[in-house]
C-alpha cells in the first residue's frame, strides 16, 4: 500500500525555501547577503520530487513556486512565497496551492573589501495555513535561520542553518502535532564571465543539503510513518545577466532515513528563472 508521506507539506516547504537573492551562490541555498534597496526580484521554478520503492512504484510531486522579493531597506529584505503543486500517485492526481510563506531577512553583517565579501543575515519566516488538500499543513508554522556568505573573486560559498517549528498554535484540526524540521545547506559556485564587459556569467554550482524532520505526534505518541532524514548532493548551474537569471539543479539523495513504510526520495530537478528590477 502506498503511504503518502505525512511530512510532505514540510518537505515542500523546505523545497521552496529557496535562494531568492540575486547574489546567492546557490540555487536552493540562500545568501547571507541582502539585495540593494528598492530591488525587486520575481522568481519561479519547476521542481520535481519523486518518492519510490525499489520496484519504481511511488509518487511524483511537481511544484511551481513563485517568490516575490523586495529590498525594503539595504539591511532589510521582505519576501512572499506561494507555490502550486501537483502530486501523482497510484494512478491518481491531486493538485492545489501550498501554504503562504512570508519571510524577512536582516543584514547583520556586510563587509566588502577589494579581496573578499562576507555577509551574515538572520531570517525569520511565518507560514500561513492557506494551502489546499495535502499541500497545506493546516497549522501556523514559523522558522528561524542564519545565513552566511563569503565571496573571493569569482568564488562564492553560502551556508544556511534553519529550524522550523511546525504547529505554532498546537495540533492541526485532525489532532496531529507536526514534527519540527532542521535544515543545514551549503553551496559553492564559481562565476565565469561570458564577455569582456562581464554582462553575463555562467556559474557551475554544487550544493550539499541535510534535512531532518521529526515525527508527528498524536496524543503525545509518534505517528508511524512520519519523520525522516535526507542528505542531497546537487550539481547545477546558473546563467546570469543584469536583469534575469536561468538556473538548473539536479538533486541527488545520497543518504536517507525514512520511517516505517515511507518511501525514500529519488533524484529531482529544479529549473528556474529570476527577473530582477
Amino acid at each position: 500500500m502506498l503511504t503518502i508521506h505525512r511530512a510532505a507539506p514540510w518537505a515542500l516547504a523546505a523545497l521552496v525555501l529557496a535562494s531568492h537573492g540575486a547574489s546567492a551562490a546557490g540555487i536552493s541555498v540562500d545568501a547571507g547577503l541582502t539585495p540593494p534597496e528598492d530591488r525587486w526580484i520575481i522568481r519561479t521554478q519547476l521542481r520535481t520530487m519523486r518518492r519510490a520503492d525499489d520496484a519504481g512504484s511511488g509518487m511524483t510531486t511537481f511544484t511551481v513556486p513563485v517568490v516575490l522579493v523586495y529590498g525594503l531597506r539595504p539591511d532589510l529584505t521582505v519576501l512572499a512565497r506561494l507555490a502550486y503543486a501537483r502530486r501523482d500517485a497510484g494512478g491518481a492526481s491531486m493538485n492545489g496551492f501550498t501554504d503562504l510563506r512570508l519571510l524577512a531577512k536582516y543584514r547583520l553583517l556586510r563587509l566588502n573589501t577589494r579581496e573578499f565579501t562576507i555577509g551574515l543575515a538572520p531570517v525569520l519566516s511565518l507560514e500561513l495555513p492557506v494551502g489546499q488538500a495535502s499541500f497545506g499543513s493546516h497549522t501556523w508554522d514559523g522558522s528561524a535561520g542564519i545565513f552566511l556568505s563569503g565571496r573571493h573573486g569569482p568564488w562564492g560559498v553560502d551556508l544556511n542553518l534553519s529550524y522550523s517549528v511546525n504547529g505554532l498554535g498546537g495540533p492541526d484540526p485532525d489532532g496531529t502535532d507536526p514534527g519540527d524540521q532542521l535544515t543545514v545547506d551549503v553551496a559553492f559556485a564559481r562565476q565565469i564571465s561570458l564577455d569582456a564587459d562581464a554582462a553575463g556569467a555562467l556559474a557551475p554550482v554544487l550544493e550539499l543539503s541535510y534535512a531532518r524532520t521529526w515525527p508527528d505526534k498524536e496524543d503525545g505518541a509518534d505517528t508511524p510513518g512520519t519523520g525522516e532524514g535526507t542528505v542531497l548532493l546537487s550539481p547545477g548551474f546558473k546563467l546570469s545577466f543584469s536583469s534575469w537569471f536561468f538556473e538548473a539543479l539536479l538533486q541527488i539523495p545520497v543518504w536517507s532515513e525514512t520511517s516505517g513504510t515511507s518511501l525514500p526520495r529519488r533524484p529531482g530537478v529544479i529549473l528556474g528563472i529570476r527577473l530582477l528590477h
Partner: protein, 98 residues
Amino acid sequence: MVVLALALSGCASGAPHRVAGTQTDAEVRVYEVFGMDCPGCHGGLEKLVGRLPGVARATANWEAQRLTITLAPGATLEEDALQDAIRRANFTPGQRLR
C-alpha cells in the same frame, strides 16, 4: 600638434574626462566599487546611481569592481550622494579612478 599637447596636458592634470566628438561634452567618471559578485548586482547599483541628479548613465562591472558614470552635459554630482547610493545598494565605494 598644439591641440594634441593641450589635450594631453589636460589629462595629465586630472581634468574631468570628457567624451569628445559629442554635441555637448559629457563628463565620465570611474569608481571602484566593492561587493559585487555577479551580473545580477549591476542592475541594482545602476538603478540607484542612475536616479541621482545629473547622472545620465551608470554602468557597473562586477568583475572589474568598477562603476562608470556619465554625467549629463553641464551637470555636477555630489560625491557624498554617490557614495550614499552605492552603500544603499549594499556595496562599498572605493577610490575614484577617473
